[in-house]
């Protein structure tokens, strides 16, 4: 354990991998049949740039998780193409790892077995993988909890264990669907720092979905703002803030606030549209707004 830590080169070197670029071109997806048919994604096109952290933000229920299922290959688009480094996505594959909106740690495995699941399933366990597991356990602060089952971990620990479980597989693209939703504010901010740290160390392609504007700005290199359902990209903002970022500096940074206001302006319009489409959307709108007012006040 400590041997790995003393050789920082080894562990963190391990995290560096060949990242890939993903492209979504003219993708549409509907669910349901006949008059119940609902167009969820409509002619969406965007690029998840190589070695960048792309954040997608959009109103709740607009179709973000649907897009993630298409990126991951769990579902096929009705039309359009999803490609990774130019090759069409055919199904789930370890080169695109998804961290799910709801915790998907296996409840019947302890933390260590969960993290090691990928390598074990593929029969790729060697000393290097084991060392990497230790490195990651340490990195996400779960060394003491390696033998605990998920039900014995707090929400924040579960999310970190999931990050580690994904990282160990050298995915070429990491896809995260609102991974920190439902955590309390303090834990959430801690998680942003953990996650941003992991990203900065590996610089692999990351695609991160959220409904939280502060989370989006803190993490993103590029910010995709989505329209309401049926969703497509409404705007792309470059978040050209220096890394590593610090939450306090970000709050005071004019550039960060400028980006935030621009994003909120666009989101506002989308949220207004979503108002009529039901309770979930309305509450999301409220969330965004109360936050905005709080920060200003």
């Amino acid at each position: 354990m400590s041997a790995v830590m003393n050789k920082p080169g080894k562990g963190s070197q391990n995290l560096k991998v060949n990242s890939a670029e993903m492209r979504v071109e003219g993708v549409s997806k509907s669910y349901g049949i006949a008059h119940l048919r609902e167009n969820v994604v409509h002619n969406a096109s965007f690029v998840i740039e190589k070695s960048k952290l792309t954040v997608m933000i959009g109103p709740s229920g607009c179709g973000k998780s649907t897009l993630i299922r298409l990126l991951a290959g769990f579902d096929k688009p009705d039309s359009g193409t999803v490609t990774i480094d130019g090759k069409p996505v055919k199904g789930p594959d370890r080169d695109r790892l998804v961290v799910f909106q709801e915790s998907a740690l296996f409840p019947w495995m302890n933390t260590y077995d969960n993290i090691m699941y990928g390598p074990r399933a593929r029969g790729e366990v060697d000393d290097e993988t084991k060392a990497l597991a230790e490195f990651l356990l340490d990195k996400v602060g779960l060394t003491q909890f390696r033998n605990k089952f998920p039900s014995q971990l707090s929400g924040g620990m579960q999310r970190r264990a999931e990050l580690a479980r994904a990282m160990i597989n050298f995915p070429r693209v990491m896809i995260l669907d609102e991974p920190f939703r439902g955590l309390d504010a303090m834990t959430k901010e801690l998680m942003w720092e953990y996650y941003a740290g992991l990203y900065e160390e590996s610089r692999r392609t990351n695609f991160f979905v959220t409904t939280d504007i502060d989370e989006a700005i803190f993490l993103a290199d590029r910010l995709l703002i989505m329209t309401n359902i049926p969703t497509q990209v409404r705007a792309v903002l470059e978040v050209d803030l220096p890394r590593p970022r610090n939450l306090k500096e970000l709050l005071e940074s004019d550039r960060a606030n400028e980006i935030k206001m621009e994003a909120l302006g666009i989101l506002h319009e989308e949220a207004m549209k979503s108002f009529s489409s039901g309770s979930a959307a309305a509450s999301d709108f409220i969330e965004a707004y109360s936050k905005r007012v709080k920060k200003k006040g």
């Binding site: 789930p92 998907a104 707090s154």
Partner: protein, 460 residues
């Protein structure tokens, strides 16, 4: 000040200050700066609605929003609005008709009828939006307050939302290790302690005592007509513990144990077979749509057929009494296990299989690493039912065929008028059956330690 709307009457002329004061009382406009509030007041047109006037209907075009100045209006949302309360009464200071503020799809979501003579302010939403266009800061604030107001109608009741967030918060915040004793023995001791301290054991003892007393009094003391011919408690206990039993069966006679062992053996074999086949079939039925469509209809057709209806066929097929009994014992257990296992597979959250396949597991690995452990809790529920059912069917089967076993004892004792022996057989059956299902439960707890801990943390 009058309006051109023919439906409504003429107001009594609230001035700008009075309108502003009313707006100040409302949730959305409470915190608007004075200057802006006066400008909103200028947009507000006063109207009077006689009792019974319909202000708007669900689905109407929405152009204006309304502030109630006096009187009351019934506000009824359509059933599909997912609101916590569909019908409410609005009065002075309430704001209705916010759908007009949406930039698209401005349709009324509710139907509103004046319940009494009502005075309202009508505010044109487009004009309000234009006004906010020039003062975005205030606009955002008002919109956010609107949102909060709407949220109260659309989401969980407040007290419930609060309890939920407290629950989630504590879990998320406790980064420290949850103190759960590692040692199973300690856990067992802890639970035993809890059990002894809880009212459970005393209620259990009371329950047994009540039944025994009822038995004793109804048969031996009061000699109630229908109970008089039953063997009494004292008689049965004496016979059961007698070294020289009148009817030939007691804890001192070897036959007693032969019967028990024969029955246990049959149940054991039948239960093992039922588990092996039932779990396998259930897993595949749950896992593969093809297998399910193929097997399930047949399965569901055969399942309601009672064991006793199978007896003749079973005898014809197996001929040998031992196999017949085992087959009959097996059947009902098999159904229970297979069905529960299938439900167990259905209960597994799809995200686990997705996570596994994302991590590089192939189909077979998903089956072994996700489907099987994920279904385990249901499987063990099924197995507990299945042992119970096995004893159940065993007795039926032994009554029909076979030369030994507890069911056989009960049946032959009846024909040979050995009434106390019947009861001895029944009590023994109950005790042995209870023990076997407890054993299954313990095995389950052992195999699913991740759940034992989960439950222990839940304070059970």
């Amino acid at each position: 000040m009058t309006t051109d709307n023919s439906k409504t009457g003429v107001g009594q002329g609230l001035d700008q200050a009075a309108k502003a004061a009313l707006l100040r009382e409302t949730m959305p406009f409470k915190t608007v700066p004075d200057a802006t509030l006066r400008r909103i007041a200028d947009l507000a047109k006063e109207e009077t609605l006689p009792a019974g006037t319909r202000l708007y209907n669900e689905g109407d075009r929405a152009d204006d929003l309304f502030v109630i100045a006096s009187g009351k209006i019934e506000h009824a949302l359509g059933p599909e609005a997912e609101a916590s309360k569909l019908v409410k009464m609005v009065k002075r200071g309430d704001v209705i008709g916010w759908a007009a503020l949406l930039s698209t799809k401005q349709r009324r979501l509710a139907t509103t009828v004046a319940e009494a003579d009502t005075q309202i302010l009508r505010i044109n939403a487009q004009k309000l939006r234009d006004l906010f266009q020039n003062d975005q800061q205030t606009g955002d604030m008002v919109m956010s307050r609107f949102a909060t107001m709407i949220k109260e109608d659309y989401t969980l009741p407040d007290w419930l939302a609060k309890t939920r967030s407290i629950g989630e918060g504590t879990v998320a915040r406790s980064e420290a290790e949850v103190p759960v004793s590692e040692s199973r023995l300690a856990l067992l001791g802890y639970r035993l302690g809890l059990w002894v301290k809880s009212p459970k054991p005393y209620l259990m003892i009371t329950g047994f005592t009540a039944v025994l007393l009822f038995w004793h009094f109804s048969v031996d003391v009061f000699e109630w007509p229908r109970f008089r011919n039953m063997p009494g408690l004292v008689e049965v206990i004496t016979e059961w513990l007698s070294r020289d039993p009148i009817y030939g069966l007691s804890v001192w006679t070897p036959e007693y144990y032969t019967h028990i062992i024969v029955s246990i053996r049959r149940v054991f074999i039948a239960f093992l077979l039922a588990t092996a086949l039932g779990v396998t079939l259930g897993l595949f039925m749950g896992w593969s749509k093809g297998v399910r469509e193929f097997v399930f209809p047949v399965f569901e057709t055969l399942r309601p057929v009672p064991i006793l209806a199978w007896v003749p066929l079973a005898i014809i097929i197996f001929f040998h009494p031992e196999s017949t009994v085992i087959f009959l014992t097996f059947l009902a257990s098999f159904y229970a296990t297979a069905l529960n296992t299938m439900l167990g597979v259905d209960s597994i959250d799809e995200s686990y299989s997705r996570a596994a396949s994302c991590l590089g597991a192939n189909k077979w690995q998903v089956f072994r690493h996700v489907i099987v452990p994920g279904a385990l809790p249901f499987i063990f529920t099924g197995l507990q039912i299945s042992v119970g059912v096995a004893w159940f069917s065993l007795v039926a089967a032994e009554m029909v065929s076979g030369e030994f076993g507890l069911g056989f004892v009960i049946n032959t004792s009846y024909t040979m008028v050995k009434y106390p022996t019947i009861v001895i057989g029944m009590i023994t059956l109950g005790a042995v059956g209870y023990t076997t299902s407890a054993m299954v439960r313990m095995l389950g707890d052992h195999l699913m330690q991740w759940r034992v801990r989960e439950l222990a943390m839940g304070g059970r």
